[in-house]
């Protein structure tokens, strides 16, 4: 038996690592991977809350059981779509700028 809060702390840690990577990384691919890390952290808390909701008998309050796990699937679908479009954008950026460093992609900077 593991307390729910342990899962939430792990989930928060993964999300925090994703935010840190998003801020400090300069490679556009690694920045994109940090976003995936954040999504994974959120998914963990979704699944943990689903199990917790079931354990305390939340179905009696009208919510569909297992909703948390269903939300994880939708997050995964959105992540897959986002990855496909994002990587295509990265390829297009590399084709025009010939760099993966976000500091050199500064066309809109003043």
């Amino acid at each position: 038996m593991v307390p729910l809060s342990y899962y939430l702390v792990l989930s928060g840690f993964l999300f925090a690592c994703g935010v840190i990577g998003f801020l400090i990384k300069r490679n556009i691919l690694t920045i994109f991977m940090s976003i995936e890390l954040m999504l994974n952290g959120v998914n963990l808390s979704f699944v943990a809350f689903a199990a917790h909701w079931h354990a305390i008998g939340g179905e009696a309050h009208g919510l569909v059981p297992l909703s948390g796990q269903i939300f994880v699937f939708f997050v995964m679908v959105v992540a897959a779509a986002e990855t496909a479009v994002g990587l295509a954008i990265i390829i297009a950026v590399y084709r025009t700028r010939e760099t993966l460093n976000v500091d050199q992609v500064n066309l809109l900077k003043l």
Partner: protein
């Protein structure tokens, strides 16, 4: 110390180590491999929570498909070691202490005030039959909408990644070397 807690700590340690390694590595391929380790360990955590189908999909879709796409693009673009710049050092200086402070604060609040309700191993029936019945009855409309989303994303990716019709230099930069 129960087996459940030991397994949680083992998978959690892999998650934490992988996430920190993702930040520490400078080459994108190393970061991608540590992200795969994080996702595989998260699949183990899902199994502990009884979400069998989510764990399988996590391995197949995330650690499999999405990360293969990442590794493919890294190799396609021949991504090298990233160079640090002045701006990112400022971010390190202020970002990491701030995030650590915030994380510790959130962890303290969660651990202090959430009580000790435990989540039993396999408490929730997350088998494919139950998930499938839910997905195709209660969540049928969102499910169909996501298929449209995926279709639009595929078309967008094809349009974005395809070669521009007329290149100003006469030849696309990717073909130079």
């Amino acid at each position: 110390m129960s087996v459940h807690l030991i397994l949680f700590l083992a998978f959690g340690a892999v998650c934490v180590a992988g996430a920190i390694n993702l930040l520490a590595q400078t080459h994108p391929i190393n970061s991608a491999l540590s992200l795969i380790a994080v996702m595989a360990a998260l699949a183990g955590e899902y199994l502990l929570l009884g979400a069998e189908f989510v764990a399988a999909v996590q391995v197949i879709v995330y650690a499999g498909a999405i990360m293969v796409l990442f590794v493919f693009v890294i190799m396609l673009l021949n991504a090298g070691v990233e160079e640090q710049t002045q701006g990112s050092r400022v971010a390190v200086l202020f970002g990491i202490p701030g995030m650590l402070l915030g994380s510790i604060l959130v962890a303290w609040v969660v651990l202090r005030h959430s009580g000790t309700e435990a989540v039993a191993a396999g408490a929730l029936p997350g088998d494919p039959v139950t998930i499938g019945q839910l997905l195709f009855h209660d969540f049928l409309l969102p499910f169909e909408i996501t298929s449209i989303l995926i279709l639009i994303a595929i078309m967008g990716a094809v349009v974005l990644a395809s070669k521009p019709p007329t290149s100003p230099a006469g030849v696309a930069p990717a073909e130079v070397d």
